[in-house]
């Protein structure tokens, strides 16, 4: 029993790494631009499809396709920001959500139109490799994805802390107007941040392809989980998103075993509501940032 439990927790942590990877981009965009990006899942879907097509048309291994997927997703993010997000920056938040929902519908159904509703998957060189850790077993793709998630969280953290651009981004988070007065072009910051957020989800997409199948609505499934993660960790908090992802991963793994895999979303929702009642600022959120009214 102990080994089963240990295995479940390990599986959960590895899975949670993926959730963290998806959630980091979402929380970054929210923290800086203060826009809830409902199309975030569709960027994941896009990344997964690019990985898939690179593999099936050119035979590129998913891990090598990262080199192309990430820049492409960065560009896609820039485009989406320029066309959809920037024009609505001044609108009330409920209108902004509408626009991102619209973007999500467009992307999802374009995918459905061009690529059909089929489930598609990809094999990588290490798809079937598994790694033994004492008595525990885990698939290599999951370990790779998890390591990437740790690496990216850390890299983003360093980027925000040490580079000029990162400092400028943090300044904008603190106070838009003051940052603007200090000569920061906040629109450029928003643009770059949105691109960074979608690039993160690009990494996630490529790394997930060896594990999951892709279909046009795959993003909806993951983005709902990501929202729970982000709220649990604290809206806008990077360490929060990372840890929140791990927690949700473990919860999913345990709930799948002890309750029922089909009910895991119901369990997330209970957690979600509980967080809102008990600590709406999340684990790492700045207290008061949730604007208690």
């Amino acid at each position: 029993m102990a080994s089963v439990l240990a295995q479940l927790i390990l599986n959960g942590i590895l899975l949670g790494g993926l959730y963290s990877l998806i959630s980091i981009g979402l929380t970054l965009i929210f923290g800086v631009i203060r826009v809830v990006n409902f199309a975030h899942g569709e960027f994941l879907m896009l990344a997964m499809y690019i990985t898939f097509w690179l593999n099936s048309l050119q035979g590129v291994d998913p891990y090598f396709s990262l080199l192309l997927v990430v820049p492409l997703l960065f560009l896609a993010g820039l485009m989406a920001h320029r066309l959809v997000i920037q024009p609505i920056l001044g609108a009330p938040s409920y209108m902004q959500i509408f626009a991102t929902v619209g973007l999500s519908l467009v992307m999802q159904n374009m995918a459905l139109f061009f690529w059909k509703a089929d489930f598609r998957s990809v094999e990588s060189f290490c798809s079937t490799t598994s790694i033994r850790l004492l008595a525990l077993i885990c698939g290599a793709p999951k370990v790779i994805a998890f390591s990437a998630s740790v690496l990216i969280t850390f890299a983003l953290h360093l980027f925000l802390k040490e580079t000029y651009l990162g400092k400028a981004i943090r300044a904008v988070v603190q106070d838009r107007e003051a940052a603007q007065l200090m000569g920061i072009d906040i629109y450029r910051i928003y643009l770059v941040t949105f691109g960074l957020g979608t690039a993160c989800v690009g990494v996630a997409g490529a790394l997930m392809m060896p594990i999951y199948t892709v279909f046009p609505t795959v993003g909806v499934y993951f983005v709902l989980t990501a929202f729970v993660v982000v709220v649990l960790g604290g809206l806008g908090s990077l360490p929060g998103a990372f840890l929140g992802g791990l927690i949700i991963g473990v919860v999913e793994s345990l709930a799948g075993f002890f309750i029922s895999p089909q009910l895991k979303e119901a369990i997330y929702f209970v957690i979600f509501l509980a967080v809102l009642v008990v600590r709406p600022s999340g684990l790492f959120g700045q207290i008061g940032a949730e604007e208690l009214g």
Binding site: G102, L105, V106, V220, Q262, L276, L292, G293
Partner: protein, 602 residues
Amino acid sequence: MNWKRIFYPDLYIALFLSGAASAAALLVQNEFFTNLIIWIFFYASLGLSWNLIGGFAGQLSLGHAAFYGVGAYTSTLLFQHFQISPWIGILTGGIVACLFALIIGFPCFRLRGPFFTLSTIAAAEVLRILATYFKDLTGGSVGIQITAPPSFANFVFAGRLPYLFIAWGMLLVALFVSLLIEKSRLGSSLIALREDPDAAEALGIDTAWAKMAALLISAFFTSMAGIFYTQFVHFIEPYSEFSLENSIQFAMIPMVGGMGTSIGPVVGSFILTPLQELIRAWLGGRFLGLHWVAYGLVLILVVIFMPHGIVGLFRNKRIRLPERWHRFFAPVSPAKVSLDKGLVSASVLSHKGSLGEEGILLECRGVTKDFGGLVALSQVDLKIRRGEIFGLIGPNGAGKTTLFHLISGFYSPSSGSIAFRGEEISGLSPPHQVCRRGIARTFQVVKPFGNMTVLENVMVGAFCRDKNPRAAEEEALKIIAFTGLEDKAIFPAHRLTIADRKRLELARALATKPDLLLLDEVIAGLNVVEAEQVEEMIRSIRAQGITVFLIEHVMQSVMSLSDRIAILHHGEKIMEGRPAEVACDPRVIKAYLGDEYVLASS
């Protein structure tokens, strides 16, 4: 209830549109056409229900399918298992939907930010999963076929026409409820909290409760439409009930028609539903998903280019209508109200609270507020007597506005107590409770409800004491006349100049009939003439028995107005006294101008 109030053009337009559509359906006698009209009515009633919370209150729900499906499932299951008529199911389904609304609303409505939207999406998703999972009860993803023989009690009919009339009835009921709410105190509260939640709270609106009330009504009518749908198509299954697409569709109708108006969802449905049917018939069959691409584009384009919807294109024109139009609707001609008719009266009589010692209205004792390490206020003691004008001055950052936030309930003190009429109020939060007890405030950075007219803005305040819209309107008009805004009564507040916005702040606060009025820099930034007018206004407010506590930087005004003045510096009260004493006190001069001026003046 004053029925006359809802006879607005909105109602006539909606009656005409739906009546004409029904008549056309009866004349044409074509099944496809009748169906189309039924769908138009159906989506209009859903749009109207969604609009109550999404449009009026600005709380974006993308999970209304939850209420829709829960109602439908409740009614269907009751009928399948206990043969309870779906007509009764409308009531029970509505109640169950309201229960879900409570579960979602309770945690979210205390908060701002995207939490409500996320919760609604998640709720609908979870319900879909549960409905699929509990196969024995719900038939799982296979669904339940309704095979009851046609009869009125079974809510099953052989022809289309009964459905047409029921859908029409549903639309009219939803419209009527929406209009009633729009013209009532609740509607005023909802729009106010959408425009600015802080100002709404400061004017005595329990924002969490108002949102909840709107959500409950909305959930009930959404559930009713869900039951209608099931009875109309004779079939229920989890995906068609709870899908996100459904929720988006409900939201799109008011969005395109015009959110936050009662006519918007009706217009939206009349335009969008036929268009949807056409697009679906034309694109949906041949090209998978392409009609949803079109919807998505419509959403984006509407947000960017037409945020007030189709109705908004006409609304702006209405404001420019001639004066006569406004006179026609305004029950009291503002010009007739003059200053000396005893128009403003404090709510002294309406409150039972006793006065503290020697007529002390407000007493702060050792009030301290720190934000993390920063101490904004430290050990402030103040006593304000009934009927006086008390001035609070101090350099920028001295903690003056923080003190107002503490008194009005926006912050709670780190230590110390604040007593109003001898009663502790510092623990009172949210702020509307403080306002209801008789303390009104203005905001230094003015917070007008931009999309409401000046009259509507002031009515929000008046609703604090009077639930009747007509009485609130009369009260508001008197106060508008008093503050000299009568020419602008029908202007939307976002068009006002800064001087008028400050007057509006004052008017709104005054409309709540306060005993104590907290004025945060209502004079700063005005020119000399305007400043004198406002000074005169403040004196006359005091003459009506309202105690005034004001923060002001314009020394000339504060010195001539105040009976007593306190000065704050670095969060501490450094002195208090009559204006003449304060003006020559070296500590005050030092705080404002620095040491060298003290030396120079001595």
